[in-house]
Amino acid sequence: MKTNIDISILEDYLDQKLSSEKQKEVETALIQDSDLRKELEILKLNRESIQLAGWKKLIEETQSNYLSTRTTQKIYPDKYLGKNPWYLRIAASISILLIGLASFLYVNTSPEALQKEFISYQVPVMRGNSNLENKMKEYYQNKEFQKAIQLAEEEAFIDRESKFILAMSYLELNQGNEASPILLELQEENIEDGQSWFQEEIDYYLIKAYIVQGDFSKAKIQLEKIKSNPRHKYRRSFDRWDIVRIQLLELKY
């Protein structure tokens, strides 16, 4: 490079952070100096590659999680269904439906089974608005839920993002009785502020919180609330059997 324009200046040039005078100076230098043009292109490629490196890491982690979960799920269908002819599978399904559906559902429906079907909240990789939130996110991501809870308890005031992570941490520890008041508080704040911040997630996780604490009638009401809203993003997460299963839980416990 023949000029005194270094990477920092080129970065500011790309981000349009330079004064108009300096911006023009860089433009002129770029026209005259092929080495500088090359330097700029390398910088652009590098910035793009670093971003992509972040995505690559995220994709690798997701793939690894996906494959480990999928391996466990595949055992059942491969072993019992995959090798049988289709008509046997249908016959077996009909038999099960006719003979044992009700008892099967009754025996197999448990709060624990339902809880497992909820997906755990995944914190966004993006940074949060406060240090507390970032730290809590870090603990949550590392599955150090108790630490996230302790951190929140030490604070006199916690913002709503942190409150949400706190509720999710309690849920991960199966403490629905702690999670539900926080989610309800966030719901109240939404109503007061006329906002719908994370409201759909609040609705969804309240069902889990109620199931964990054994309050199935509230879980059913909450589920019906979601099902009755055609635009609710979690509406399709539940079907009519889920309502039946929650009703069964009401009968059983």
Partner: protein, 203 residues
Amino acid sequence: MKLNRLFSDEELIQMIRGKTMQSQAINQLYEQHYGMLEQMILQNSGSHDDAADMIQESMLVLVQMIIKDKFRGESSIKSILYSIAKNKWITEIRKKSSSQIRNEKFHTDAEQSTPDITEAIAKQEDLNYIIKLFDQLGETCRKILLLFYFEDYSMAEICKRLEFSSEQVLRNKKYKCLKSLNESVKASPTIQSTLQKILRNED
């Protein structure tokens, strides 16, 4: 009970482009499309491991296309992912160059990829090379650069998070890290040809 609701293609594109809930977005892409892509590779002489490698790289190409506005949802994510994976897999089996595993129809179909996909795959190969050079930087350098460029942290936040004594010290370190990466890239013959192409197009 289904685990979570499915986002539409348009929402997924927005989530990736805007870097909001990107984990959920990538997760859904895997849940929805991994099986289909894996099947395509298994049916065309690939193994499960080949499929895993190809799908991971294809996801990265898709993300890159979305970020660079090369894919705005003109076709479905499913079809674009399929085309990317197919194109990449054909290139891979050509590299292996075993005529006995060639499937002519499969090859012919691949030629029909859109220029955008071919270009994105070629671009990704260059960027992958730079990512390898990036991976060779020290841990602190990688952390600083990822936090700044991928996670969009401010210098003040990185300073606190990585416990630097001052922002100026951090700035100097970031400058050195970037410069070091620039030097490695400059010294790489592989990237030189790409650079020449870019510079020629600008002239």
